[in-house]
Symmetry: C2
């Protein structure tokens, strides 16, 4: 309660929001009010407005204004620093404020590590449940069951304590009917689990499906999706993830783990109003959470930080990097303590044996990279086509449960007969049987295309890694036989390419490199991917092969289709994501993109289509409009904000006012100031005429204008404008010429423009 009160007192100053500079630079903004009458009413009005402002949030599916949020935070910080003199309360508050970020990421790390541990253990147990159950202790999975039973005939993770389902039904003999029963149990369990997962998702938390990474990217870039990181999503996604991965579907836990970690970050950030009440600051916690998610998914803390930096985050100051690292490390340590895999390693596949490679082998590694890029692009193409069909088709889109049942049934039936598809990616790297591997690769590819996007929590990393590992192993085995035959022909075993005595081509290394190549082709990650693979194996030895493969994979992949799977899904879903990485070589200037379009014939064809065309800019005059005029403007347009100008003739820019602030202010005025009528003139200036002079009482609205809107001139190249949007996190920019406002460019206009430019890429001039 104490804290909440403090927040209100802080935000009371923040009500001045956009025009907050008034408060600071001598309080001029407020002082001027006092010269006019109605001071009592004013205070009441101010208070109503402030409360409304505090509890006002960004609308769902809106974009945040980074500059404004960060300014709010700076003001808050300044006030706390100012209180430092009040010993001891002020000092304590200041220390708490300084440490809040660290405490928050510490808690996120702890919770993410614990969650990952629980999910790993749960998924393992349920996955084994398809085959049978531990007779003595039903809560143990097969491996732990056999460990605890002290069985001497423990072999190939089978022991007498572990009871297959047919055995439970007293079918002991290994006759055909036993296998049919086993198969039926396997498939039925798989379908049941997957169905439960999809029903849970559909009923309780529709946002819990999928990998979540495309949406996380959008959220980190400043998009608001209510409930996407809420507690229900967290709970249902955790349970659903256990069920879905236990069902044997071709999906991974890694993407969802990042989503879960971000949910944790979001939930904990509400304990710290500094982060919970400020969307821009909250993104710092979420970036750290994303790093923790990758850290627990792969046991790769540094890779997690780089993933957050390279793939996920948009706003990533160095302070956040250091905290992300801390968060990722804490999560990794907790997972190691929980120790879900029963060994000391937290990573998916830890390869102990020494592997050496020679420079000649860089050629097959590069070849694997090319293959990875092509396979990844094919996958993206296939998956996006199918996802688009799912979105548009009524049959498929309306019946997600049937889709899941069919996919699970097919996956389970076929995987049952191919051991390479039932096994985890980890064992895939060590085993080998040529034709079965090829079959497994083909099925894995097809299944994953149809699986990624069904309405259960499903990640993409592990299926990609599995595909790559299979392909890599195939190449490695071929290389091995080639080298062997070359050696036999040349007659001596220490051939130039093979300085070590024994078998010099290590198919396991090829599997690793292939995994990196395909993962790179699918996600188009670079540095973070190499570092993750390096942390997975724990040796710098393999950086070079991995890097070569990743590089070729990215080159060929980018040549075939420019976007990775996440960006492709962002595009498919039409999220307003302004890519931080791309460079846009356009040759357009601001005046050609802004709205309203100037009537000049040169630019008329560049109009973004699908928008109702208005030929006049909707502006607010600083001292010439009545309350009725403004209300009419609000009714007739749906813009999020309006430029305030000196007069409609001159159009010289004064500031910018948002629709929300206008609505709130008018609403508050109508409610608390009975003398404000439709004919009252709204004044956005400090010079308000004395109401005693006759006419209806004026309405003062100076405090709601943002006197520092971002502007560009009409001739500014669009590259610069896009740069400003990306780097400063703007929502809109005003276009001026010789001091006059000509139009406005919003983030949506930018995205629309970029989409148009990309489709007509050969002629970006729109001519």
């Amino acid at each position: 309660m104490e804290r909440r009160n403090r927040e209100i007192s802080l935000d009371e100053v923040e009500i001045d929001g956009p025009a907050l500079v008034h408060v600071e630079t001598g309080g001029g903004g407020y002082a001027s009010f006092n010269s006019a009458g109605h001071s009592n009413d004013r205070e009441e009005e101010d208070f109503t407005f402030s409360i409304a402002f505090i509890f006002s949030k960004y609308g769902d599916f809106h974009t945040i204004d980074w500059q404004r949020d960060l300014a709010r935070d700076r003001l808050r910080h300044k006030l706390i620093v100012g209180k430092r003199a009040d010993f001891p309360l002020g000092v304590a508050q200041s220390a708490w404020d300084a440490g809040a970020g660290w405490i928050c990421v510490l808690m996120v790390g702890l919770a993410a590590g614990a969650t990952a541990g629980v999910i790993d253990i749960g998924a393992r147990w349920m996955s084994d449940l398809k085959d049978g159950i531990c007779a003595d202790r039903f809560w143990l999975d097969r491996e732990h069951c056999c460990w605890s039973s002290n069985d001497t005939v423990y072999k190939d993770s089978d022991c007498s304590a572990w009871t297959a389902w047919p055995e439970m039904l007293n079918y002991y003999g290994k006759n055909p009917f036993f296998y049919v029963l086993e198969f039926l149990f396997y498939v039925v369990w798989a379908v049941l689990m997957a169905t439960l997962a999809v029903v849970l998702v559909k009923v309780f938390a529709p946002y819990a499906c999928g990998s979540g990474i495309p949406e996380i990217k959008c959220i980190l870039s400043g998009f608001v999706i209510r409930g996407y990181l809420g507690k229900w999503t967290f709970i249902i996604k955790s349970v659903g993830l256990i069920l879905a991965s236990a069902s044997g579907l071709s999906l991974g836990k890694e993407g969802p783990m990042v989503h879960l970690a971000c949910c944790i970050g979001n939930i904990f950030s509400y304990l710290f109003p500094k982060y919970g009440m400020n969307e821009a600051k909250k993104r710092e916690i979420l970036s750290a959470s994303a790093a923790a998610g990758v850290s627990v998914a792969f046991g790769a803390p540094i890779g997690g930080v780089l993933f957050s930096l390279e793939e996920a985050s948009y706003y990533f100051p160095l302070k956040t990097m250091w905290r992300s690292f801390f968060c990722a490390l804490v999560a990794g340590i907790i997972l190691r303590i929980v120790n879900p895999f029963g060994s000391d390693q937290t990573s998916l596949f830890h390869v102990d044996y020494m592997m050496k490679w020679t420079f000649v082998e860089l050629i097959p590694f590069a070849g694997l990279g090319l293959f990875g890029g092509i396979l990844g692009s094919l996958f993206i193409f296939g998956n996006i086509r199918w996802s688009r069909y799912r979105k548009t088709s009524k049959t498929l889109g309306g019946n997600p449960i049937y889709e899941v049942i069919v996919v699970t049934f097919l996956t389970a039936s076929i995987s049952y007969f191919n051991p390479y598809m039932r096994k985890s990616a980890s064992s895939m790297i060590k085993q080998s049987a040529f034709w079965q591997l090829i079959v497994a690769l083909i099925f894995k590819f097809i299944f994953t295309i149809f699986t990624f996007g069904i309405k259960v929590p499903c990640g993409l990393f592990v299926p990609s890694i599995a595909m790559g590992a299979i392909a890599g192993r195939l190449v490695g085995m071929s290389m091995e036989s080639v080298f062997r035959s070359v050696q036999m022909q040349s007659g001596h075993s220490t051939y130039w390419a093979c300085q070590i005595g024994k078998d010099c081509v290590m198919p396991g290394l090829y599997a690793m490199v292939g995994a990196a190549a395909v993962l790179g082709g699918v996600t188009r990650m670079t540095v973070s991917l190499v570092v993750i693979m390096f942390e997975l194996t724990g040796s710098l030895e393999f950086i070079v092969p991995t890097m070569v493969a990743t590089m070729f994979s990215k080159w060929i992949g980018d040549a075939i289709c420019k976007t990775g799977i996440y960006d492709a899904h962002i595009e498919l879903n039409g999220y307003p994501f302004l890519d931080n990485k791309e460079e846009y070589p356009y040759s357009t200037i601001a005046v050609q993109v802004m709205r309203p379009c100037p009537t000049a014939s040169v630019t008329s064809s560049s109009t973004p289509e699908g928008h109702p065309e208005r030929n006049e800019l909707s502006v607010i005059v600083q001292d010439g409009m009545t309350v009725g005029d403004i209300e009419q403007l609000l009714r007739e347009t749906n813009y999020n904000g309006f430029p305030v100008v000196v007069s409609t003739n001159s159009m010289y820019l004064v500031g910018f006012v948002t629709r929300r602030d206008l609505q709130l202010a008018l609403h508050a005025a109508r409610k608390t100031q009975p003398y404000v009528v439709t004919d009252s003139v709204a004044y956005f200036t400090n010079q308000v005429p004395d109401p005693a002079a006759g006419g209806p009482a004026p309405l003062r609205l100076r405090k709601i204008i943002d006197l520092a809107p971002m502007t560009v001139t009409d001739q500014t190249p669009m590259e610069t404008v896009i740069d400003m949007f990306r780097k400063l996190g703007l929502r809109q920019v005003l276009v001026t010429k010789n001091g006059k406002v000509l139009g406005i460019i919003t983030k949506k206009d930018i995205l629309q423009f970029m989409r148009n430019a990309q489709s007509g890429f050969t002629n970006p001039n729109f001519k």
Copy 2:
């Protein structure tokens, strides 16, 4: 030649520089010229101007305009893409252009690795030269000499093939005179080497002294220092670094290695006009080079990339990150092939033995962190005080050679008697002798304070690491005896803190943690430091201890003094470096910082001191000034540019014109257009009156205006303005109010403002 021609033809379009949009959007800018007369003269004039423009560069100690340079590059890229249709030349050119960046960083990596190898070998050989020489093969250092001699009495790196200097003079017996002679040789050689280094630096390349990292930071942030990365600096710094580190001074090779790698990057960038001719693009290569420098210095490619990202670079798009990684990796591989240390490891200290730690030990690790932060801050304080004295004092500043001789003499004399100071940091981690270690720590600290800054190439990493390693070992040894005595008292050897049977406290690990702590305290690096330490040791096991120490070190260090050693030196030298990391919680608005200062009393005290105060903004009127007026303006002021306005009455902003462009244009006009006289009116508009109407011929200057200057309103908070400068890389911003130009804020004003605000931090409002 072919390539040069292409560049000219590209830049001919770029002469339109700021207003380049004209060329693209239908060529309107040029078309309008043709309607007026003098077309022949115009072409000639254009050509002269364009040549001048191409060969014009940024002045020495100027700041680059990132937006403009990047726009130039985008235009260049667009033209090449446009040529893609011309098969095969256009395609080849396009491919070459796309691959140029990769080829360039590849070459940089190769060269950096080779250079590092040569320097390592050279320094090792010369360092041993102080003691003696290899009798058979003088070009071998002591270790290789003993290896190659096949000597059986090879012990403690001494063998019969290695001849100490007294032995060369036929003084064999180990009598006192032998040791005196050995001491004399040692000191004389040391002084000779250091003197040679300082003379070389003083005579040939004054920029070759010091670590270079502060200057690299400034250069990467967009500062131009001619010759700082030139070939002479490279050569002299390489030779000087060998000499200086062989002389036994308390300095490291790491900072200079980064400087050398950046020299290589700069030199190679001239092979690729895309980078060599564009300062902003060149920074991409330099960032990658810095990563390669750290990579070869520590054998830590990932750490190098993170160092470049965290500490060095300013503009670091993800594309650069990937290339930096490649560059760092290539450099690391080459160094491994050169194999300067005769073993398979490239790192400074590679610790093979298994080390375990327990959670209780995190307390002494945190304590080491605190110690590191305090020691680092003390070091910064002492070194900066001494450096300031050196700058101001005539005796010291004027005689760098004497200073070096004195410091070297003292260092050599004292180190000769303390084996811990003669040995490398690597062996320090393994050895132990309490009191000698304390003495070594104190001397190391004092020597390093006086050494960092003398006029030879000198880095800071290794001395810091050595100090930290000594301190850490001391703590480790104390902890060991404490734990032992606790165990003996409790009566059993498997105490709670010590699960492993044998000695559980590993002083070597403490030395490592201490090294990280002191290095963190001195440089204030975070993530990159932890990753470097992790790559040095090759095990994820030690990340947590290192991280705890680094964190505490940074906290306590930042509490004592805010800046790291590099930023402190940047401040000391007054470089215009706008820190990318700091957050500035000021509460000032643009109008209070801009020049000229408004006459309002509130802000009059905020005038940056030391500048001549002008009460009027120097502007150019778009169609009302004669050539003479402009020339007078150029003479009377020294501003780098002027806003162009509609009229002095209205002050509505049209654009911005730089001093350099104005001078070039006027010079060209006077030279090639005889009809342009002092009374000619200069027109910055498209509507130029017909000269036939009487009066002197007009001068058209439309093409040199930047029609897209960055503007902010007068009420914009300074945080936002600083953000724009940092993120968009601006040189200046124009301050407007209601469309009128009020003033201008340059990067220098921002730096001045920040310095003022920091000194009066308790009252940042300047009130």
